[in-house]
């Protein structure tokens, strides 16, 4: 029976969606994804912070992580955002063949951001870069930052990005012969950042692609669950943790909860590397749009 329902619904999803109801469903799913991300951290992130709290030996580091866990629990209990910096909206859409990518679709996502800003509520953070005029609703030219890729279902993933950690992110165009400088560049990024990006952090590392693409890769790496790491990711994570910056820059074993790497092919004469710094509030959530 379930198979039949699944089959019929997948047939229906092949019909192109239309009209206001579909766009309202997109706005609604965007808003629901933002609400989930702002109030509840993904289980893999909470588990990583718990694990870090168990591993720390200094009183101060343990207390800092204890405060973070208490704060996460309180936010969930009260249904309010984890941090007062509710970030700017970074949105990833997977779009199935039946859904045309139109200006209306983009506007529906933006409308979801406005709705979330009013209803949750979020702090309005989006300003024009030179005029510093705040739109009041977390949208504006190029905001939300929307990334689109093909998929089987229409899924909306949000990654609200706070400024404290984003401001510490870096990019380097290394030489192809400088592969061994990648760990140095990653560790150096955290050395410069110190306690400012609210460690323990998650580092998204992009390697390869183009100048603009490598930054996008680094951010996409932050969408990956942090409960497993490849050997190279673990090596980078160990290099960062060897610095001893610790929770909030007050010293300790856990400066990074995890390092996640994403790669893309690049020019034979290039080796782009980007590090996107994410605070401990590694917020992300996905909602599917059903029409």
């Amino acid at each position: 029976m379930e198979i039949i329902i699944e089959f019929i619904s997948s047939l229906l999803m092949m019909l192109p969606p239309s009209g206001k109801e579909f766009l309202a469903a997109v706005s609604d799913a965007t808003c629901r994804a933002i609400r989930e991300a702002e109030i509840r951290l993904p289980p893999d992130v909470v588990a990583a912070i718990r694990e870090a709290a168990r591993n720390e030996t200094s009183d101060i580091a343990r207390q800092e992580l204890g405060h973070i866990l208490e704060n996460i629990a309180l936010a969930g209990h009260l249904g309010v955002p984890i941090c007062q910096d509710t970030g700017v909206p970074v949105v990833y859409l997977t779009v199935p063949p039946a859904v045309p990518v139109t200006a209306d679709l983009m506007e529906a996502v933006a409308e979801g951001v406005r709705k979330a800003t009013r209803e949750i509520p979020l702090r309005p953070n989006a300003v024009l870069p030179l005029e510093r005029v705040n739109s009041g609703d977390n949208t504006g030219p190029g905001m939300p930052a929307v990334h689109i890729r093909p998929g089987r279902r229409l899924e909306i993933t949000v990654l609200p990005k706070g400024a404290g950690a984003e401001n510490m992110s870096r990019l380097a165009m290394l030489l192809p012969t400088e592969q061994d400088r990648i760990p140095l560049f990653v560790a150096e990024t955290m050395l410069i950042a110190g306690g400012r990006p609210c460690p323990p952090v998650v580092l998204g590392v992009g390697i390869g692609g183009t100048f603009d693409g490598v930054a996008a890769l680094a951010k996409e790496a932050l969408l990956e669950p942090i409960d497993t790491m490849e050997p190279f990711e673990q090596e980078l994570c160990d290099a960062v943790n060897a610095l001893g910056i610790g929770p909030m820059g007050l010293g300790g074993k856990t400066t990074a909860l995890a390092v996640k790497v994403k790669t893309a092919s690049c020019h034979t004469a290039s080796l782009p590397v980007a590090v996107n710094v994410q605070c401990w509030a590694a917020r992300r959530a996905t909602r599917e749009v059903i029409w």
Binding site: D59, E64, N71, L74, A187
Partner: protein
């Protein structure tokens, strides 16, 4: 280790604190970010600064309720802090630490207390709103008068030149150099 309980107005007791001590703070604090500091420098401090605590924070307030009130990055106020300490302020509260210049200004006078960054709901759960100055600066930049109930903090910079953030940063630099620049 039991934390040391402090209450505003603070007296010379803060001079006994050492970087790394865990404390709780109760009593009145005043929030202030960049804009509030600039206006206080021009118009004078609107509260009694003697023994006061200033909190680097732009809270989310709804009516008379504090929804979220985590610390902001204190380093932005490095060059705007001296006049507060000259006027008798005994404690600065924020995240990420402050410059060696501020550490010098705190010498023999007061302390910098670190609150866990991002813990906006935890902080708000220990707070009651009492009033506001400079509301025209907007929610994030106004000075909110807040009553604290045992807010848990760590002494980041003490009044004897001890600076936990500085020590950790120095050690991190050493580790980095050992690994990559030999």
């Amino acid at each position: 280790m039991n934390p040391i309980d402090l209450k505003t107005p603070l007296s010379r007791e803060v001079l006994d604190l050492r970087a790394g001590d865990q404390v709780t703070l109760s009593g009145t604090v005043y929030t202030a970010r960049d804009e509030a500091h600039l206006r206080m420098m021009e118009d004078g401090i609107p509260f009694d600064p003697e023994g006061a605590a200033v909190y680097h924070c732009g809270p989310v307030i709804s009516g008379s309720r504090i929804i979220a009130a985590g610390p902001t990055t204190s380093a932005r106020l490095n060059r705007l802090t001296g006049f507060l300490l000259d006027a008798g302020v005994r404690a600065l509260i924020g995240k990420g630490g402050m410059s060696s210049q501020v550490a010098d200004q705190l010498s023999g006078r007061g302390v910098y207390l670190a609150l866990t960054g991002g813990c906006a709901v935890l902080a708000a759960s220990r707070m009651t709103l009492r009033g506001v100055y400079y509301e025209d600066l907007g929610m994030a930049e106004a000075i909110w008068i807040i009553e604290l109930d045992r807010l848990p903090l760590v002494v980041g910079i003490d009044s004897h030149g001890g600076d936990l953030f500085g020590t950790v940063a120095q050690e991190a630099n050493l580790q980095f150099d050992r690994r990559y620049t030999m």
